[in-house]
């Protein structure tokens, strides 16, 4: 892209600048992932497809015309109908509705896909992937994992997934199914571990990351790229550790969701 020369400028392929209109979507299924998390599968006739890692906007309208809008990471792989995975926040306005009230056949409005930086395309991918998720930060990374599997891509992946306890793991069966297939999965259980747990206990630390992060000496195109998604404190900590381990900052892509006032 031609443009003003700013040294060290972050850039990438431009997205087509087309208008994103609100479109009607029908809920085709609501799946229970954990006690507080649901995956909502949608059918949207005008959906033009998405890339792994992108997000979409949801708009709800009450009977009196009051509206609420939120953004959610897309949970499904490119080529699949859009799906979102939502965690119920007790003080939330929208997430309790999406996780408890919404059911198959209901309609809502959405628009997207949105975002072009925190994305991964299987076509032409050569770099090993380090995926680090905190809690529901797994959602866009699941889209990446699903996309890799469906596209038959062979780039090696290391997934580090930090959750409070095993029952809080979202997509557990699917993720464990990837484990043998070039994806190495490490769970960090921060609050509660089952009897006999030999994996990591507590928050992710520098030592665990040093074990998991790909060696920094890999030359050229095989240099790993990291996708980190989760609550701010998790992302800040992981991104800082990775930088210390030798990751160039622009090989660490982050997506954060804010504090308790969030969706």
């Amino acid at each position: 892209m031609a443009g003003t020369k700013v040294r060290g400028r972050l850039s990438g392929p431009a997205l087509p600048r087309t208008t994103l209109s609100w479109q009607l979507a029908t809920v085709t299924a609501v799946r229970t992932e954990t006690a507080t998390v649901r995956t909502i599968e949608l059918n949207a006739a005008e959906w033009a497809g998405h890339r792994a890692g992108q997000h979409l906007d949801v708009r709800l309208t009450a009977e009196d015309g009051y509206r609420a809008e939120r953004s959610y990471s897309i949970a499904s792989a490119p080529g699949e109908p859009p799906a979102i995975t939502v965690q119920r926040l007790d003080d939330g306005e929208v997430s309790p509705y999406l996780t408890e009230e919404l059911r198959a056949g209901d309609e809502l409005e959405l628009r997207g896909p949105i975002g072009g930086y925190f994305v991964w395309d299987a076509a032409g991918a050569a770099s090993p992937l380090l995926l680090a998720a905190g809690g529901s930060g797994i959602v866009p990374l699941r889209s990446i994992l699903r996309h890799r599997e469906q596209a038959g891509a062979t780039v090696p992946v290391r997934l580090l997934y930090s959750v409070r306890s095993l029952p809080d793991v979202i997509y557990r069966d699917e993720i464990d199914g990837y484990d043998a297939d070039g994806v190495s999965v490490t769970y960090a259980l921060t609050r509660q571990q089952p009897a006999g747990w030999t994996g990591h206990r507590g928050r992710v630390d520098g030592a665990l990351l040093a074990d998991i992060a790909w060696p920094k000496s890999s030359p050229g195109d095989d240099e790993p790229v990291a996708y980190v998604c989760g609550p701010t404190a998790f992302v800040e900590s992981i991104a800082e550790h990775l930088t210390k381990l030798g990751y160039p900052p622009r090989r660490v892509k982050t997506e954060r969701f804010g504090g308790a006032g969030g969706p």
Binding site: M1, T4, S11, G12, A14
Partner: protein, 201 residues
């Protein structure tokens, strides 16, 4: 005409004047953090702010020189494109008017550039006239790195991605061109009151 979402009632806030909240936003008391990569940590001893044109530096300030400029306390509402708004945020800042005047800068647009490679574009009319600042303090304390410290742009009348974190200068340009998020499909101008979130809005 939007369909009614069966069973959705929403939760209207009665403690916030509706005219202060742009369409599609909700008010939070947190200060969420959103950035594309790791947080840069820059020592103020190494920090400079530059105004440039076509590769030439018109003027550069060190941290001490910037802090010696007239300071203002700015209390303002901020609006993030990811839909949170935060009311009555309080910043310590230098007016962008002061910096642009000292540089003798004239241009149609600016491209703000930051540590980490972030850029964002703004019309000069939106960073002059008491509408934009270089902010180094938040709520009475130095601005935290995760919120853009040591210093960030503050342009509160536009969506907050225009308020570039870790800003190190402005490149003066004659024609508008997309910065980082604008390249990825976000709106070139970003007025929250017209809900200009994405290209074409």
């Amino acid at each position: 005409m939007s369909p009614v979402s069966r069973g959705f009632h929403g939760r209207r806030r009665d403690d916030v004047a509706p005219e202060r909240v742009p369409p599609g936003q909700y008010v939070t008391t947190d200060f969420p953090v959103l950035s594309a990569g790791p947080t840069p940590h820059v020592d103020t001893g190494q920090w400079t702010f530059s105004i440039r044109r076509a590769g030439s530096v018109l003027k550069t300030w060190t941290w001490q020189e910037m802090r010696a400029l007239p300071a203002e306390t700015v209390t303002t509402d901020i609006h993030c494109v990811t839909r949170w708004s935060k009311l009555d945020t309080r910043w310590e800042a230098v007016s962008m008017d002061t910096l642009l005047e000292q540089a003798g800068a004239e241009a149609a647009f600016v491209l703000a550039f930051s540590d980490g490679g972030y850029t964002t574009d703004l019309p000069i009319a939106d960073v002059t006239g008491g509408q934009a600042w270089l902010a180094y303090g938040y709520d009475g304390a130095p601005l935290e790195p995760e919120h853009g410290g040591p210093a960030r742009l503050l342009v509160p009348h536009l969506y907050f991605w225009k308020s570039a974190k870790w800003v190190r200068g402005l490149e003066l340009i004659d024609h508008d061109e997309p910065g980082f998020w604008e390249t990825y499909g976000y709106h070139m101008y970003g007025d929250p009151w017209r809900e200009q979130r994405y290209a074409g809005d």
